[in-house]
Symmetry: C2
Subunit: 250 residues, 2 copies
């Protein structure tokens, strides 16, 4: 679970220069306010636009970046959804977060110059790539930008620590309730419904993330539905009673 930065450029930024003309600028982007909550002047946004080298499209299962690979860029998710994960010593996958449009990822690589996590597309997705060295140069000119990158890094820490608490102190039901509420809030931020969600991830992924088995996740969805808190139809979720859900999550 990362945060926000920007969006830009052509669907597939390749060598063809006039193809690159048909780009969306950050200032036009629907996700502008999520991605860049800091107050940037129009001229600053234009400068940011210029450093965003390319934006690419990923099919379900394709990687945005991989654990241990050299860190070169930050990324912003424009459309679709992603999961971030690490491999454990014995080769199992541990999902550490999901990303929705407008959220920024890749900050974990800043310090070591290598990515700590792999990030995979859960569905067809498009991302904007922000070369870090050029972002650093720009940060020197726009102090708010530097500060913003720092903020995103510590949000990563804060979110990880919240997940630690969730895993350490909460029951299976509480974990699922907390995840649903979290997704609901992030959906609302995208000006989408906070009550009607389309889960981009499988039950297995949810279980992996929350430290539960698929079966348990499935049973809890059923239980919540019987209790009238949710309507579940495959990956379409309708939250009928977010108050009870919130109370449960604590």
């Amino acid at each position: 679970m990362g945060a926000r930065l920007t969006e830009a450029n052509a669907e597939h930024g390749d060598a063809c220069s006039h193809k690159n003309q048909q780009h969306t600028s950050c200032s036009d982007c629907r996700l502008h306010s999520i991605c860049l909550p800091i107050a940037l002047e129009a001229s600053d946004i234009a400068r940011l636009d210029q450093i965003i080298e390319r934006s690419s499209s990923l099919e379900r299962g394709q990687m945005a970046c991989e654990e241990d690979q050299p860190f070169t860029s930050l990324y912003a998710l424009r459309t679709g959804s992603l999961k971030a994960y690490r491999l454990t010593a014995d080769g199992k996958e541990q999902i550490t977060g999901f990303y929705l449009p407008g959220e920024l990822f890749g900050v974990d690589g800043i310090a070591q110059n290598r990515h700590l996590t792999s990030v995979m597309a859960l569905e067809t997705s498009s991302i904007c790539e922000i070369p870090f060295t050029r972002l650093e140069e720009l940060s020197a000119l726009i102090p708010d930008l530097q500060r913003h990158v720092f903020k995103i890094m510590s949000q990563e820490i804060a979110q990880d620590q919240q997940l630690i608490t969730l895993l350490s102190k909460n029951s299976a039901e509480q974990r699922v309730a907390a995840l649903l509420l979290n997704l609901s809030r992030r959906s609302a931020r995208l000006k989408l419904s906070s009550t009607a969600l389309r889960l981009p991830m499988s039950r297995t992924d949810i279980g992996n993330y929350l430290g539960l088995t698929v079966e348990t996740v499935s049973r809890i969805f059923s239980r919540f539905q019987k209790a009238g808190m949710l309507e579940v139809e495959k990956r379409e979720i309708h939250i009928c009673n977010s108050d009870i859900l919130a109370e449960l999550a604590g």
Copy 2:
């Protein structure tokens, strides 16, 4: 679980100037190599010495810093031990890490300008305080230092994510084994025994950190002892067979 930076100055850095004379310099410090693994010239160390304003002593239960308080400094632990924790929404404590001498803490506050965690002394401890604004100034002169602070931040992320994996995928026995091995390694780094440990934290703290109850932690210690892997005498632990322990931890 933080990392390293520095150590310095007098036992109680107060206003009395000639009391401040009797300081230990970073270059004299026994923890030098742990705290400052980067290769700094002698002159650089001297400059670092100068910005370390004071070093204070904490009694068991006293706070080094508190959640939501303004962030002003990074800290290095010189002697003793600490626990870092956050309070959950319903007032429970979630321990997110323990610190041993030579380790640096407080980085979580960099981005938001507020500390994300509280840090409490588990026993009488002494810490060095490094005012962040002055560290930033110095970083401009010593690029390695800047890089080092970044590195420590991402180590925080990496450690949190390892804890997430531990909590999400491992049994109670595996969690305890992993913690013991971790402490053993950190003890060895201090040129102390890697097999004879004095646990600075209570069983309750261990349970809190690992998402287990006190009873479970206690039973596992007993079980490990019966299996010949450990000798447990109150908080003194002797690791008899670290290979089996490591195999168990996975």
